[in-house]
């Protein structure tokens, strides 16, 4: 609650000024201490607020309550922002822009409209069915209700997943030939229509709302690693579980196994002690569990974890605390876009024997990806290896991610990924795939 009090003049309909001290009474109303009290229910045509940052003029308002509270008649101001920051935030301001949003439904193909309408109908039918069962279960003792819901999920879940899969196939068929502009427009239309169902899935809600400002945050990664039901009701559980079982999510789980395997290979072949490891955009760094529990001597490892998100670093730290300490651990809260500006970064950090970055290059456009890769290569010790993941253009979850999850990646072909490493001196470059075929790995080794 704001307490700032500001001097103001309130002009009544006759043009007479009523001076007073004004503060926020609630989110949408002000309170006035008048020098001389006007009649109850007075209407003021404008209020001039002498806010320390700048004078502000507010529109028509009326005295209500005990004769000291002001409500506005033509606008809806955010009164806390108004008093604390001296900013006019009119909550109805966006109303004028609605035609722009409404016009987005033009140019949607007939086929797509029909597809979306049928999908909504079918999802509504399924949701009603599942919710009705849950309502019946909720009348039972908790352990009985839970057992019944388990049966429901086991019996009806697979059929519902087949229904969702079938619709993803239809979606792919419809949009496969779209231009990027059509994808954007149809994707926007799709999410506007499917919004209540999207919010019914904890995972999809998070990928759409992106509370940390980007897709793929540590919590989303955790949901993918966990791969279990979330939510209380069966429908919500299923809507959450389906996307975290899709091939792109499977690929995330695969790389958690693949990285430790590659790291161990290089560790076994290397004489370096300590063996220095750098993970770029580390996220929760769950792959470290497999590294540390896989018979590697933690005292031989020096680990540096870099992420732009302090919440991801906190998750990484708790992973490390669970699995045992390396010889040295360094956490760096910075973004790759700015981190590598220092020419002398290798002097400060030293060189690394193994550098990897799994979920980052899919977000970097070619000029940035090439620059970042070159700088990471400079940090590589002789004989060291750099491993970078990138989803392939043929990712089978591509449309699921784009349309349902609002999760966009910069997809590459093998050649495009390999080309990022072109021109690096003394480098051996390889591109491989994970088992799902969704994800590629670029390995760049520096000569000894």
């Amino acid at each position: 609650m704001s307490t700032t009090e500001v001097h103001a003049e309130l002009f009544d309909e006759a043009g007479l000024a009523w001076p007073g001290q004004v503060c926020a009474a609630s989110a949408l109303s002000l309170r006035v201490r008048f020098a001389q009290k006007p009649p109850a229910g007075s209407v003021f045509s404008r209020v001039v607020l002498h806010h320390p940052s700048r004078p502000l003029t507010l529109t028509r308002c009326r005295l209500v309550g005990d004769g000291d509270q002001l409500v506005f008649l033509d606008d809806v101001y955010d009164c806390h922002t108004l008093m604390e920051q001296g900013r006019l935030k009119n909550l109805l301001g966006f109303f004028n822009e609605l035609p722009l949003v409404l016009a987005q439904r033009n140019d949607i193909t007939e086929g797509f409209r029909g597809f979306v309408a049928d999908l909504i109908y079918d999802l509504t039918v399924y949701k009603k069915f599942f919710d009705e069962q849950d309502r019946a279960f909720s009348k039972e003792a908790p352990h009985v209700g839970a057992a019944a819901q388990e049966v429901l999920l086991r019996r009806a879940g697979p059929e519902f997943f087949r229904f969702l899969d079938g619709n993803l196939d239809k979606l792919s068929e419809l949009v496969r030939e779209f231009t990027s502009e059509q994808h954007e427009r149809h994707g926007y239309y799709f999410r506007q229509q499917l919004w209540p169902f999207i919010l019914g899935s904890a995972f999809m809600e998070r990928t759409n709302l992106k509370p940390r400002g980007y897709a793929g945050d540590a919590t989303m990664m955790q949901m993918i690693y966990d791969d279990r039901y979330e939510g209380a009701w069966a429908f919500n559980k299923l809507m959450h579980r389906h996307p975290v079982q899709h091939p792109a999510a499977e690929a995330v789980r695969n790389r958690r196994v693949l990285i430790p395997r590659l790291l161990r290979q290089h560790l076994d072949q290397s004489q370096a002690n300590p063996f220095r490891v750098l993970s770029v955009a580390c996220g929760p760094a769950r792959e470290l569990e497999d590294i540390f529990q896989g018979g590697v001597d933690p005292q031989r490892l020096e680990v540096t974890l870099l992420d732009q998100d302090d919440e991801a670093l906190a998750a990484a730290r708790s992973t490390i605390e669970r699995v045992g300490a390396p010889k040295k651990l360094t956490l760096v809260n910075d973004s790759v876009r700015t981190l590598l500006k220092e020419r002398a970064v290798a002097d400060r950090w030293g060189r690394f024997d193994f550098i990897y970055s799994m979920g980052m290059f899919d977000y970097l456009t070619p000029p940035v990806a090439k620059a970042v890769l070159a700088r990471l290569y400079e940090l590589l010790a002789p004989g060291g290896a750099l491993v970078v993941g990138n989803y392939h253009v043929k990712n089978p979850s591509r449309f699921y991610m784009a349309y349902w999850l609002d999760w966009i990646l910069y997809y590459r072909t093998e050649d495009e990924l390999g080309a990022l490493a072109s021109g690096l001196p003394d480098a051996t470059v390889k591109v491989g795939f994970d088992d799902t075929g969704c994800q590629m790995f670029l390995t760049v080794e520096r000569g000894p």
Binding site: D78, T81, R87, L88, K89, N90, L91, G93, F94, N96, E97, L100, V101, Q104, R176, E177, F178, T179, S180, E181, H183, E184, R185, G187, Y188, K210, G213, Y214, A215, Q308, S335, V336, R337, T338, L340, K341, E342, R343, Y363, L364, T365, P366, P367, V368, A371, V372, R375, V393, R398, A402, Y403, D406, W407, I408, Y410, E416
Partner: protein
């Protein structure tokens, strides 16, 4: 659906003044058309290049006489890349804000959605000039470009716009 564009690259050094940026408009539009972009695309890409140049003039740090803007344009079969580089002061907070904003914007499948979300925030309050971030959203939305940046080893800000040509996914 898939077009083959001519692979071409140009690089230029420009002084940080409005007239110089304005003079680039027509030759750039012609260059994009020569490479095989259609009239709308050539117009949109020339607009993107001018907007990035304007941003460089406006937000670059111009303290010495010999400082310049680097403009690089590369057209290849799958993408058109416009990159504009300018000197900046070492202000981690400002760069971080730009980083967050670019990632936030790129987080939407539809640049229109990013534009509308930003508009929703901006239209409800009175922003100081330059802090709204609406300009970047508009470039992304109108020219359908992916924006990205990094700070180079010599401390210059390299801002780029990538237009993916006819990204049909079949």
């Amino acid at each position: 659906m898939t077009r083959r564009l001519q692979h071409k690259r140009i690089e230029k050094r420009l002084p940080p003044d409005w007239e110089a940026a304005k003079r680039e408009w027509a030759p750039l539009k012609a260059f994009f058309a020569e490479c095989g972009l259609d009239a709308n695309e050539a117009y949109a890409m020339a607009m993107t290049a001018s907007e990035l140049l304007e941003n460089a003039i406006k937000y670059g740090t111009w303290t010495k006489d010999d400082e310049f803007i680097s403009l690089a344009i590369e057209v290849s079969s799958r993408a058109v890349v416009v990159e504009v580089e300018n000197p900046v002061v070492d202000d981690p907070a400002a760069v971080r804000q730009l980083d967050d904003r670019i990632q936030w914007m790129r987080g939407f499948q539809s640049p229109f959605q990013a534009y509308v979300e930003r508009l929703k925030q901006v239209s409800s309050q009175s922003y100081q000039e330059g802090e709204s971030g609406l300009g970047l959203c508009r470039i992304a939305y109108e020219a359908r470009c992916l924006l990205d940046f990094y700070v180079t080893g010599s401390g210059r800000l390299a801002m780029s716009a990538v237009y993916q040509v006819g990204v049909s996914l079949s």
